[in-house]
Symmetry: D2
Subunit: 134 residues, 4 copies
């Protein structure tokens, strides 16, 4: 499946006491990249379908600190489609040095927003998530 | 009208490139203190009434930088009730030095969540906002 | 003086309980746009000069709520150069509707990072801030 | 080893498009609780020692969504001391329902801030981290 690329510049407000990008901020960068990965679908698309996209696990490795002025490339790909969950791999590369700042696996379930029940990953849902229909 | 007090410790993730609390983070501190100011009302109270509490202006002076480990006291008081708006004064004092880090005036309107119309500040709304009914 | 333009897409993590962009988040959008306004200067430029760029006041009007999926255009211009302070005007326009979500004036002083003294806005500092030298 | 407890009220600005606490915000809650866990040591203590406390991995399970008005209890304990890394277990319990919102394991290394080398977890470092000296 295809890999999308999202560019983010590291600014002063992304840093913390160590002058590195803060650990929580990276999760916003990863979320930004996932919204971007599905940019062909308007935000209302999922809601209109009655689907909630809910994170169940993030396993994130902090490998190399990103600092002020770095240009980050957040690479996002769907690596696993289970019966009831999907997993994205996301890597954040510092473009100036080609070092990997962060690598993460992010696992979701899709719920029916009315019943809160977990939906199987099949049919429409699978098509949208794998972006085979545009 | 009475002044409420909310204590916040400055942590590493509140800081930015200058090792001071970031300008945007102070607005979260002010919002935290306003939620605390009305803690006698459950969050659903306003929604159940159909009232939306919407900020229209913040005028904030950054006077002295708060740094890691500072204990902040966010003092909040309602200083003005207009026909259709209310204004809070909020000061953030660094307890260790008694210096004022930030002073702000924050102005709100109350809207009807269904019609989006601005409501006059009177009756129930005024009672709740001035916390005369508990 | 020239106006720069910074585009930001409103994502799910920018919203709050009202499903509008949160008041504090707009300050990050404004800061993002100011970093972008001076993108021709590397972040180290100011530090190497020994200059700290410190906010003293933000006066921000929240005019119209931005919501999920909106495309924001943050327009930034330097509107006033005083003896010891500078003021930016920043407007955030929702591109889909041409409505102004936010308008703000943001005032800074420049300090000597070693002495913490406020520096006069003249010479090198004025040239950089007005971006007449590139 | 002992477990510390940090209370956080869920406010409007912690929520996102789903009206749940946002996934990135939980990492700030976990960080807040870790600062609190070591509150007997002033923030300068680690810096004065020349130690940087650097996250290498967070594995976080999102189990049940926390919503506006929930009172969260962030329970933090050091569960593993390796040769060169330490791991905290952190659980966020919703006090009103006793449901676990989040469980996480957070792994750190300690570096020498001058050389950036990873330090072995022994002697002073171990004493401080296990809080046996107060």
């Amino acid at each position: 499946m295809d890999i999308s690329s999202t560019e983010i510049k590291v600014r002063g407000y992304h840093l913390d006491v160590y002058q590195h990008v803060n650990n929580a901020r990276y999760l916003e960068f990863l979320e930004e990249a996932r919204w971007n990965h599905y940019q062909d679908y308007p935000p209302s698309y999922f809601v209109d379908k009655g689907w909630g996209v809910i994170i169940v696990n993030i396993n994130i490795n902090y490998k190399f600190p990103a600092v002020l002025g770095d240009t980050l490339d957040v690479q996002t790909s769907l690596i696993k489609i289970g019966k009831s969950s999907i997993t994205f791999q996301q890597e954040i590369e510092i473009k100036e040095s080609n070092k990997i700042a962060v690598s993460a696996e992010v696992t979701f379930v899709i719920i029916n927003l009315k019943t809160n029940k977990i939906l199987p990953i099949e049919g429409d849902i699978e098509e949208v998530l794998t972006r085979t229909k545009k």
